[in-house]
Symmetry: C2
Subunit: 454 residues, 2 copies
């Protein structure tokens, strides 16, 4: 849909006119990104007023269209009664995601104002790590008792039809008196037996389930192995506590990939949107850059140690940034392959030697090719074969160092339980810069008389 | 599960012993990553022999555990009869994914040997772009005619129970005589009406559907707006051609993020695994590095133009790589925020000015902070305030250039329909390197007498 005036302008006007009916009608014509973009660009005042004009149901629909970090910021600014009324309309996993982005005191204040049943479920789910089954499960599923009959289920479905619209009704779960998972029924198991049949007679006993502590990786593996539309989650006593859906697992994997991408690019501490306050954006970026400036000073100190060689052959200064940049690129390629293989389980953190051998072969080939290229350029430029040998040799040697180090570093960091996406690139750049500067300047020092003054 | 001997060794032994029964039993104890890792490390000969020992069903289970690029390589090496028998056991979307990774002549040869119905479906799906609804849909869904009754559906479900086990039976679709989508039934709509009721009396008419040409972004928006367990896909004539599931959309988004991550890190042309042949891995990495070496030579030419200034103040050579590296980091942060906002639709490609203003503010703040830091270090090191001013000023100016350029570049590339993940980082690095070298060396040239010989 194409809007001739920016969405935020139309929104502003409708909010200023306090025209709630037209406001809801307009928002319904927007795609989720349009809604998110339009609302994020309103003033804080207009945002607050907007949510006062909307009913809790409509407000919840809007909240679901907005990235969680932004949604949490919006809800945090509301009075807690209003926030609670809106949050009660969210699905359980969405609710927990948004609450999880808030400060603990604000989320507790909102939970205190929510209906007891919803709040109890949310509190339980908030106690789990966000990336385990307990944090990813939903609480909208249908559960019956071992002494229920098919007729009981049909009656319940008939009675609560409207409430169950949003429920995951592919499977029905059966629990015993202690709430322990006893079996599962597929909905079509209800189609054929007589209505007085006990659920225990038609259910699949001892069904597949996952622990509430199961990690995201284990859940990924589970759905790779079993093409199901959901799996029951049980606690240590085998009590049924929730259901995990495959799309929620994929979504969590997506979220982890986004955080990895941002971290690799130096955006730390979660999402950054340009509608966030200037000083928090600038401060978060600076905290990462400050670490980098220290690492850069360490790396550059190698150059400072060789000032005499540099003064004698000033041409080397042209090649220093090239050797360090090219080696950084080669190292990052190897690191990316390692991170990818680690995430797929195709390499284990302890297999350093296997990676070393695999990468050393690439390092030798690519080092020779790149060294010949850049060494050739250096030789042609100044007509001095020794300059070519120094530059080409340094790049070749440093390519070998970079790819082997780049390949092994993510495995080492994983063993140390440090996130490779956060530190692998700065550490690798510093190490390969230092080695690169050292190779160029020490090789040049060794053959200094042959290089003359350039 | 912990295996004391490496998985590949046990596999090798069982394959050598041609013990098919024990082989299947062993593979069943493995997690998908263990299977993928173990098989990828076998010799090509052992891999082929393994698939001869397995039944097509067991082989298909193994293929589903392996990343698609690897699976395609394995299947390509098999005789096409055997490949076809295995491929027939895969689900339709998995089949299309694996065929899509193969050379067209090999996939056509395999399709020619497959059952006509499966092959016809796969050919139709292969004609779609992999990232649109037609390429992402499944063909395992249940469809009935407008003149069918509830009893017809119940009879069909009863008769074909075993075949439908893997089907997506949350919804039933109803088509008219021309195969056009007429309505949808949820499975619980079957529970209550009399068996002689016509489906048209209980179905939801004119149900939600998506075009077979719908893009991944549109499908994401669809499932954000509608919490459904699947949506029917129709062609231009509203004929029902497939069903798209939300988890398959999330999986496709995941795949796109992986490709982006690899491209950003300089791994182009798809996945690289270390079990792939050495020369194809090295060649693909080199093709990207060669482009970078050219860009590096262009950037370094700025330094070459200022050799006289460098010769007079050799200390500058220490700071050149630092200024260029720091600016590269600042620019990449801004580029990452733009890529993320673009993918969420929070910024539109034409909003260059908005991004410019937002980033310029950050550039000024961060430029001043970083400039003071590095300028201070330069001053303290050599005791010359002018050196501090030159270095600090250059870093401040270049930080402003980098963040504004970094923020705008992905938007510009998007408008030119070029993938930002592929070229944004090399282009940005080259531009900020050139500017950084220029600022340091031209500022230094301007105040050369004050810098003395350092």
């Amino acid at each position: 849909m194409i809007h001739l005036t920016p969405v935020e302008e139309t929104l502003s006007e409708l909010i200023a006119a306090e025209d709630a009916v037209e406001l809801v009608r307009f928002i319904e014509t927007l795609s989720p990104p349009e809604t998110a973009r339009g609302i994020s660009r309103l003033t804080a005042e207009a945002q607050l007023k907007l949510f006062f004009l909307l009913s809790p149901e409509d407000a919840a629909d809007v909240i679901e269209d907005i990235p969680e970090a932004q949604a949490a910021d919006l809800v945090e600014d509301m009075p807690s009664e209003q926030a609670a009324a809106i949050m009660e309309e969210l699905s359980s996993d969405h609710l927990v995601d948004v609450l999880g982005e808030m400060d603990a005191d604000v989320s507790q204040a909102i939970l205190a104002k929510m209906g007891t049943e919803d709040a109890k479920e949310a509190r339980m789910m908030l106690e789990y790590a966000p990336d385990c089954a307990g944090g990813l499960m939903i609480s909208e599923f249908l559960v019956y008792k071992t002494d229920n009959t098919i007729q009981d289920v049909l009656d319940d479905l008939q009675t609560n039809r409207s409430e169950y619209v949003d429920y995951h009704v592919q499977y029905f779960y059966v629990v015993d008196r202690e709430e322990k998972l006893a079996g599962v029924l597929r909905i079509h198991d209800l189609l054929f037996p007589a209505n007085e049949t006990l659920l225990t007679q038609v259910m699949i006993p001892e069904p597949l389930s996952v622990s509430d502590k199961a990690s995201l990786g284990e859940l990924e593996d589970f759905f790779e192995d079993h093409h199901l539309f959901g799996v029951p989650v049980v606690d240590a006593e085998r009590r049924l506590v929730g259901v995990v859906l495959p799309q929620d697992i994929e979504e969590a994997v997506n979220k982890r990939k986004t955080i990895n991408f941002l971290r690799l690019s130096g955006i730390i501490g979660g999402e950054e949107f340009r509608t966030m306050p200037l000083f928090s954006r600038s401060g978060r970026r600076l905290s990462w850059l400050s670490m980098n400036i220290v690492l850069n000073i360490i790396a550059a100190s190698v150059i400072a140690m060789y000032q005499d060689t540099l003064a004698a052959v000033i041409t080397l200064a042209v090649f220093l940034p090239m050797v360090s940049d090219m080696s950084g690129c080669s190292g990052n390629q190897a690191a990316a392959v390692s991170m990818r293989e680690l995430s797929l389980g195709l390499v284990r953190p302890k297999e350093l030697l296997w990676v070393l051998v695999k990468e050393a072969k690439i390092g030798i080939i690519n080092g020779l090719v790149l060294g010949l290229l850049l060494g050739g350029v250096a030789y042609l430029w100044k007509g001095n074969p020794w300059l070519g040998i120094v530059i080409g040799g340094a790049l070749a040697a440093n390519t070998l160092v970079s790819v082997t180090l780049g390949g092994m570093l993510p495995l080492l960091l994983k063993r140390l339980k440090i996130d490779p996406a956060l530190v692998s690139s700065p550490l690798l750049t510093t190490a390969t810069d230092m080695c690169g500067f050292f190779f160029v300047l020490s090789f040049a020092t060794a053959v200094l008389p042959k290089l003359g003054g350039m």
